[in-house]
């Protein structure tokens, strides 16, 4: 299935940002995810939906360079030539993870340093890449806190003094400050109440559109998928059962499981 024809603005880009070819990961006898292939183009937001245990997070961990898949390859086009992220040395992969892409964890505690102030959390990636000017680091941290709607006066507070929604926004600022081209989000709105969710989604939508980010969002919430994503992949038991444009998949589901999933959503 080719989709870039429906994205005129990305048709200028000659090649996909991320190509996933036949990625499988097994946990012993059990399947984590099996034979997943897709292309992600610059500026595109891909959603991965499915119920708990369907292999969404396993797949995300493989794509983000955290767990090596047992089969298949993940090609990332950071420069001109595509790079198989598991064939390069770990050093290079870690450098990519810190600069060219970012991971937003479901639980902010996994993504934040809880005993480091908000400013330090946001500034870490800048210092990683060699920034050594305190004033400039702080200025950029303040700028990013403002963009994720955290008051500048909270810059020296630690994340544990923040509410859950603020922690999640702080985590997003921490990832985006290095201007990555690709962001992985694992249930970014999980565990937040609906009004906070709505504001976070709004924020994400603005940031993704403004920065031209490509993003892969794992979620079990179809409303989140509908709001944020251009394209949707539906997973069940480790396999991709259906993929296509988000509206298409949600409004005209073909696979029996997708039909079940969309009909299970409560409409208020």
């Amino acid at each position: 299935m080719t989709l870039h024809a429906s994205f005129p603005e990305t048709a200028l880009e000659p090649a996909p940002l991320l190509s996933v070819v036949g990625v499988s990961r097994f946990y012993g006898e059990r399947i984590g995810c099996a034979d997943v292939s897709f292309d992600l183009w610059p500026g595109e937001v891909l959603g991965i939906v499915g119920e708990s245990g369907s292999g969404k997070s396993t797949l995300l961990r493989c794509l983000a360079g955290i767990d090596q898949p047992d089969e298949g390859e993940v090609l990332f086009r950071g420069g001109s030539a595509p790079l198989d992220i598991y064939s390069v040395p770990e050093q290079e992969r870690r450098r990519l993870m810190r600069t060219a892409w970012g991971i937003v964890h479901q639980n902010p505690r996994d993504g934040l340093r809880m005993d480091v102030s908000a400013g330090g959390n946001v500034g870490e990636r800048l210092m990683d890449r060699g920034d050594r000017h305190y004033g400039q680091i702080r200025e950029r941290a303040l700028d990013w806190l403002a963009r994720v709607e955290i008051a500048g006066s909270r810059i020296d507070d630690r994340p544990r003094q923040f509410s859950g929604g603020m922690q999640q926004r702080l985590q997003i600022a921490r990832v985006l400050v290095s201007e990555p081209r690709l962001v992985f989000m694992d249930e970014p709105t999980g565990g937040l109440d609906v009004s906070v969710q709505a504001r976070l989604l709004d924020l994400l939508r603005v940031l993704v559109r403004d920065l031209g980010l490509a993003a892969i969002i794992v979620t079990h919430d179809l409303a989140v998928a509908r709001l944020l994503t251009d394209r949707l992949m539906v997973m069940k038991d480790g396999h991709v059962v259906e993929q296509g444009l988000t509206d298409q998949v949600l409004d005209d589901p073909h696979h029996a499981y997708t039909q079940l999933l969309t009909s299970a959503v409560l409409s208020v």
Binding site: E90, R98, R113, G119, G123, R132, Y134, R138, I155, D156
Partner: protein, 308 residues
């Protein structure tokens, strides 16, 4: 008495090998030292031995000293800059007994200086070896508890996290508040813990003509700085590295360029500042320098009458 002499009734085997450690152990330590010197700032694992001294009291330093000392050497041992503290006296006596070592308090006369928490004020010279006792060799440990992870960070020079620590200091207190064990960048490559010396001593390590060896007995690591190696204390461009300064000179010898200890002298809150390097202070007093409180201190028997 020297205890590596033969036992009575046994005219072949001495009670202890020269300098306490057996020859194979010394070789093992020397191999680690060679590797450490070859890769400045890199922490080399070694098989740390039990010593007749509690872990944390300088077993790393004492093992290095034992591995490099010979009959020609003159040893100086300091603890917090002083030659006359329990730890320094005991270690000096240990090597007098086990290695026939000549010992001295004069920095200039020593060929090996084992130290805890200070670098002598007198500049070290080529041919001298300074051995540091190190409690925690890993500068990243408090920031990253996993050993596997810190090794990767060193291997690939991923040192952003260390800077985050300094950032936190400045954000909270307006300046870097780390005053001892202040992290340094060695030879533009490895970040190293300089052992708990005050940051006042950090500049003395830079391009020093002496060989500097670091031993952490409990943590089983050895690292080293060969002579003339660059040592840069970490900082920010707009918050440059600064050493401590005092508003008054040493109360005994009037030195204004040495590291001063604050000593509380009565229960009325009275205090005095004196050089932490006891030999440096004595030398200056003998040369006729007199601090504001030297008269009082001599009268009450705290310091001996100057010989001059």
């Amino acid at each position: 008495m020297t205890i590596h002499q033969p036992l009575p009734g046994d005219d072949t085997a001495p009670a202890y090998n020269y300098a306490y450690l057996d020859e194979q152990t010394k070789r093992m330590i020397r191999r680690a030292l060679l590797k450490a010197v070859a890769v400045p700032g890199y922490q080399v694992p070694f098989g740390s031995r039990e010593m007749p001294l509690a872990r944390g009291w300088g077993t790393g330093g004492i093992q290095i000293t034992a591995a490099i000392i010979g009959p020609e050497d003159t040893l100086k041992v300091i603890d917090q800059g002083a030659d006359d503290t329990t730890n320094a006296v005991s270690i000096r006596r240990f090597f007098e007994k086990t290695a026939d070592a000549r010992t001295t308090e004069a920095t200039g006369e020593a060929t090996i200086i084992q130290t805890r928490h200070r670098i002598p004020e007198a500049a070290l010279t080529a041919g001298q070896v300074i051995v540091y006792q190190v409690p925690q060799p890993e500068p990243l440990r408090k920031l990253e508890p996993r050993e596997a992870e810190t090794r990767k960070m060193h291997a690939w020079a991923e040192y952003g996290l260390m800077q985050v620590k300094l950032y936190e200091n400045i954000a909270r207190f307006g300046e870097v508040t780390t005053t001892y064990d202040y992290p340094v960048m060695i030879n533009g490559r490895y970040i190293m813990a300089p052992s708990p010396i005050p940051k006042f001593d950090n500049p003395k390590m830079h391009m020093s003509p002496a060989l500097q060896l670091f031993g952490a007995g409990r943590e089983k690591r050895i690292y080293a700085l060969p002579p003339h190696t660059s040592v840069r204390s970490l900082d920010f461009e707009d918050h440059p590295f600064r050493i401590q300064s005092w508003s008054e000179p040493c109360a005994l010898c009037a030195a204004s360029d040495s590291y001063l200890d604050e000593v509380v002298i009565d229960d009325q809150g009275k205090r005095m500042f004196v050089c932490s390097d006891s030999h440096f202070c004595e030398t200056r007093r003998e040369a006729g320098h007199r601090g504001a409180m030297l008269g009082d201190a001599t009268a009450s028997g705290l310091v001996e009458e100057s010989k001059s």
